[in-house]
Symmetry: C2
Subunit: 448 residues, 2 copies
């Protein structure tokens, strides 16, 4: 076992035909085909364990994303499986620090998401080898080891290693009790399923009512294409769920700064809880202006924020009320640890982005760690839930009474069924071959 | 001619073995292999004109960059050559706005540089069809048309179309006289050739002395690996050039914020003119802190700034004294027009990044436009010059008395010799085939 090496990095372009249902439609993304640039790390340990993970994309360009993951192969093949699983942070730093690949970012876009996929695959492998889910691997770790998993380059002015250790030590107080509560009650979720822009008002109302009946205390609507439509849908949704259920709204970067303030205030009558992605994810100062202009409506962003340096500034500039990590946008678990620590230090709640392909499966691990062993609270914290494509995963999410159930299977819950991988490989998988031959039909919804 | 279509988008992975000379070595990039993900737009016009351009990378990952350009093919093939050349801005917006590809950025990294390459190839084609160099095509354009070439999304809080038109109208005043002066005297340059980190002190001194003899009034040294080395090299360079030649220093993102302030101040005795890339290019607030901490040394950045939204904030936050555009990092000429307009509005001088492969060739067009028809001045403005790889270009830069000569050949000067493309194609070109067979040797310098 100690001599085991990583022997292969398989990369697979997997695409699901979600655009046919308008699942996932919003003001900027009218027709996404949810896709995964999927990676499998294989070893010669003989234990049958593999590390699985992926970068999430929405269709075109998934091949580019896969090529970026393949470009990391030489950094990974031949590494000691034991060493890399004992310290994913060193690999993370080596990948981010490759001086030639760094030019393609640095630490952003296609190349950084590729690093995130590989790093997350290492965490999947490490957790499987440890026989524990990733959230439990994290909560069981020593504060000093966890603090060493973070790259402080470019964030030391906001968070030092010493501060990280102190936060993590404090997080250990009472963690055993919180772990039991997590296992008993799960972690709060909110649902976006009612609110896709392509849905009719009737469907929005029907799904919003069902969400409340299912125990959700917050839903989310997509906005930003047409103000009159947004007002009408928001009024209908508010009438359907009543005054006590939070309704977040999400503009998916549709607006300029001034427009974001005006549009959000035009919806104020229906008490939106937060406005999400009001403008460019790069516009730190713009978000700060929007926040000042729309209070008491909160400002949320993060699913397209490309690294810890931008999150650092969003916090320093008091630009956001809600920080939305994404499991597959930044450089993997290690960078998300940095971001969770930054949020904890600045006292801003983290409400992860999820949905897509497998993002719910992954990100719950990070929030559950945050609750058990970092901030110690779920107050004003919820994980997004979207009822998409879970059937393709071996360890899919389960929602009970509006809460994510804590996963107990070893790993990062990032592994798809072999049958799904084979069917949806693009362009050679069975579904796509049949599709090209005209043998598939639009279906009404998956899992809905 | 009016019916001509774009018929092909050829993408070629071209790499030069620059790492063997330590040309281009700095604190973050010890061994770059300067490379180009090269694109050729072909038409059926029958006039023999093609649009050439490229994304610049430093070696590994150039294949990923090439794949990203190829992913844009379907947006371009079949377009009217006339229409796209008459309005590159519409294509630029269509490429940036592809909702699925947008997920891979948005507007950053590999995918955005790919868009920049395609957009720049359109400008090359447009200028060739117009029989003028790009700088002249720009200076001859109407303010309203130029203003329409800019995408104001996410920058309207800093620059409106109306403000852009006003700046461009003002730029027309006296432009005929400035054009004559430009053709007679060229545009000021500074040189980085003396200062690569891998060079010995003797080589630094020898090249610095030669730079002054050649008429340069500013040189640049790489710093950031070792403070004692930097102090020694800076002292030697200052002694070599005397007090009146500006010496810029460049840390290539090596530092955290506090470290940047300390290190720069430790070099203050030798009067560095600017500190370039002191920290992460994403750290707008960090640059503002550094600027306050190192004055009167100026702060410069931009070669890795990924789009106009970040430049906007660097200006809004008063984080930089010198703005460094790059011809091949952002979304092409159109986004660089936006950035030049922002800089003009905020009164910050633009000193472009150049070097690499062909960056000098391209970016001079943008500064020359800025001088003739936008800001109307070259005060405190210089274009970086590095004596690398120009021999591969059909319309290479020429430097006379420390000034870039204005190019007069039609196009964007972005076209390589067919023999260079063929020899340095990776991995199948003649050089790389010979190299793989052990038949190439390290050479002392190209063009030095």
């Amino acid at each position: 076992m100690t001599a085991a090496r990583i022997t292969e990095v398989d990369v697979i372009d997997i695409r699901f035909p979600t655009s046919r249902e308008l699942d996932g439609s919003d003001a900027m993304n009218p027709d996404p085909d949810y896709s995964a640039a999927y990676v499998i790390l294989r070893t010669d340990a003989g234990d049958g364990l593999e590390g699985h993970a992926f970068a999430f994309t929405i269709g075109r360009g998934n091949d580019v994303q896969a090529a970026a993951i393949a470009a990391l192969r030489d950094h990974v093949v031949g590494l000691s499986a034991e060493a890399v699983c004992a310290d994913p942070g060193s690999l993370s730093r080596a990948l981010v620090g490759d001086s030639q690949l760094r030019w393609l970012g640095p630490e952003k876009g296609v190349m950084h998401m590729a690093i995130g996929a590989v790093v997350n695959a290492v965490w999947d492998l490490a957790a499987k080898r440890a026989g524990r889910p990733v959230w439990k691997l994290l909560t069981d770790s020593e504060p000093e080891w966890l603090a060493d998993q973070v790259d402080y380059r470019y964030i030391e002015d906001a968070l030092t290693r010493e501060e990280a250790v102190a936060l993590l030590r404090k997080g250990k107080d009472g963690s055993a009790g919180r772990e039991l509560r997590l296992l008993a009650n799960g972690y709060p979720a909110y649902t976006t399923s009612p609110g896709w822009l392509g849905y009719s008002d009737d469907k929005v109302v029907r799904l919003a009512e069902r969400a409340v009946a299912d125990g959700f205390t917050q839903i989310k609507l997509k906005v930003g294409a047409d103000l009159a439509d947004d007002v009408r849908r928001m009024r209908a949704a508010r009438a359907a769920v009543g005054p006590d259920v939070r309704i977040a709204v999400d503009a998916n970067q549709r607006w300029n700064v001034a427009e974001a303030v005006e549009w959000t205030n035009a919806l104020a009558e229906y008490a939106p809880y937060w406005i999400e992605e009001p403008t460019s994810p790069d516009d730190i100062l713009g978000h700060a202006t929007v926040r000042r202009g729309v209070a008491p409506v909160k400002v949320a962003t993060g699913e397209h924020v490309h690294n810890r340096v931008v999150f650092k500034q969003l916090l320093q500039a008091e630009a956001i009320d809600v920080l939305q990590i994404d499991a597959a946008r930044v450089g993997g678990v290690n960078e998300n640890l940095a971001i969770l620590l930054l949020a904890a230090k600045y006292g801003v709640p983290v409400c992860p982005h999820a949905g897509g392909v497998g993002l719910c499966e992954l990100v719950r691990h990070l929030s559950m760690f945050d609750y058990v062993a970092l901030t110690g609270t779920t107050e004003d914290r919820l994980i997004e839930y979207v009822d998409h494509l879970h059937e393709h995963f071996k360890d899919p999410v389960a929602i009970v009474n509006g809460h994510y159930v804590a996963p107990t299977a070893p790993g990062f819950s990032s592994e798809m069924h072999a049958t799904s991988i084979e069917a949806y490989r693009h362009p050679g998988g069975a579904f796509w071959v049949a599709d090209a031959a005209g043998l598939t039909e639009p279906r009404e919804g998956t899992n809905r």
